[in-house]
């Protein structure tokens, strides 16, 4: 049995404002196994940050329980603080200090000696590639450089659990990939990583286990594979050279065992299949056998967006495009 490093029972936090009550987190139950990367996916305002803040002792829950690294966040916040690292959504690096000074300070606040803190800082500067600017004032950093320093600050004391709130927002693709690599390395050292994101790809690639949040609720959870398999099938889209052959083609395809259903969408046949990669050659062969010419064929495998769509009736990409808070 794997041990849970983070577990919550019916965690709730409501905010009252002039406009009414916002149920930011509304009964969340989570279990995060030791050593995994736990992804927390959801659109703006879903309640991800609020959940994280309750787990890292910044915010007192209205009700419910949370255990982090073996301690109750309400009864023993001090013990929790010693064992966790946190990289907030808005960073945390001190602007008028240099990156190195800030790292050393962070280590000292966790009780390291000066020498210990300096050597750990040097190690992280190397690891996260901060060498070029570590001795400059943080005011002069680019957004991505600052983000890397933020992450270094979060792992300075080698925490048992690391909370990362949207660690890659604002990073360019290269730095994002680099940070993904670092997260992988950190996981290899046994650190449990709890990260929020609204990037579908990121959640898919990084997470061992994933919870999808919307309006304060967990709407789905599982490994990315499980989630994708659970809710949706792969889709093959076929456009024929001669649209008049569409009905005939549909008939042929529905005869195939791998095809679950087919729909005519404008001039394009949309076919749902269990396993797209296996089905694609069969579809092509069957149509070829009936002398039906294909002008275009494409395969899209199930994505986490399909999961979100299925559970909430909205697409995460759309909510992202809306941009603002709800």
């Amino acid at each position: 049995m794997t041990e849970n490093v983070v577990s919550t029972v019916d965690l709730k936090k409501y905010f009252t404002s002039r406009k009414g009550v916002v149920k930011a987190v509304d009964g969340v139950n989570l279990s995060v196994a030791a050593g995994q990367v736990f992804g927390f996916l959801g659109p703006n305002g879903a309640g991800k940050t609020t959940t994280l803040r309750m787990l890292n002792t910044l915010l007192v829950p209205d009700s419910g329980q949370a255990l982090v690294a073996g301690f109750d966040v309400l009864k023993d916040p001090g013990a929790v603080r010693c064992r966790i690292g946190y990289v907030g959504q808005s960073g945390g690096s001190d602007r008028p200090a240099t990156g190195r000074e800030d790292l050393v300070l962070q280590g000292r606040l966790y009780g390291m000696s000066k020498a210990e803190a300096s050597s750990r800082a040097a190690e992280l500067i190397d690891l996260l590639d901060l060498t070029d600017f570590a001795d400059r004032i943080v005011y002069t950093y680019s957004g991505g450089q600052r983000r890397r320093l933020d992450v270094a600050l979060g792992i300075m004391h080698r925490p048992q659990v690391l909370f990362l709130d949207e660690p890659t927002t604002g990073l360019d693709p290269q730095n994002r990939a680099n940070l993904w690599k670092q997260i992988g390395k950190l996981k290899a050292t046994g650190t449990t990583i709890f990260l929020t994101t609204h990037y579908l790809e990121e959640a898919d690639i990084l997470s061992d286990y994933l919870a999808i949040m919307d309006y304060g609720h967990i709407v789905a959870e599982g490994t990315p594979q499980q989630l994708k398999r659970q809710v949706s099938l792969d889709t093959i889209r076929v456009t024929l050279g001669d649209p008049a052959q569409n009905p005939a083609a549909a008939q042929v395809l529905e005869g195939l065992k791998v095809v679950k259903s087919s729909v005519l969408e404008q001039d394009c046949l949309r076919i749902s299949v269990d396993n797209g990669e296996a089905a694609l050659p069969q579809v092509m062969k069957a149509l070829d056998g009936k002398d039906i010419a294909i002008s275009n064929i494409s395969l899209s495998t199930a994505s986490l967006d399909d999961v979100f769509l299925e559970k909430t009736g909205r697409s995460l990409r759309d909510t992202e495009a809306e941009g603002g808070d709800r």
Binding site: C82, S93, R95, L105
Partner: protein, 249 residues
Amino acid sequence: MKVLVDIRLMFVRKMKETLRNPIYILSSLLTPILYLALFAPLLKNLIPNTTNVLNVFVPGLLVIIAFLGGLFVGYNMIDEVRNGVVERFRVTPTSRFALLAGRVLRDMVNILVIVTVFVLISLPFGFRPDLGGFFVFVPLLCMMIITTSSFGNALGLILRDEDRLSPIVQGINLPVLLLSGMLLPMELAPTWLQVIAHFNPAYYVVEAGRLLVAGHITDIKVGEAYLFMVPLTILVVTWATRAFRNAIA
């Protein structure tokens, strides 16, 4: 002791910030120097029965420096809240009191430097403080700084927004200054104004400051000032520490 270590770490952090940008200290000196040069001469004819005008006027200016130096620190606090710095520290096992105390101590050091420089500048203008009295005055100034800096920091942390902070600190600023007798002695004021002034901590400190600078260490008003400032400082610091403990920042 962990608390003391934490206070030192947080103090050094803020002190480095000051040392990187010492222009702040110079700019804080500008206002009192202008008062000294352009306003003090007017007083000569207004208060004819005092032998040394600056001994009346400079203590008031020192209280202004102490009061304003602490009151406006909330803006810097808001900056740090916005950058996630405060949140970051609050997730560490750092003592909550140290998070406040480190900042307040830095403000105190800054302002005491300004006070010292200003006193030195005032000497050639004719300021002649009683040395013993002046050293009894300094703790009052320190309590003033601790009170306003704690208050300003906590307010910034609670409000987290300049637009909400400004009306409050501005709303406090002017009445406290006007009712302190910093510019002109409150004896010139009508009775109702004098009554209101007795609710103003700055009034007590200014009154005591003038007596102390003149060497009247045992005057009852000096005792009054201490009696007012000590509990007030404890109260405000306790409240501000609670704010650091509970803030959602």
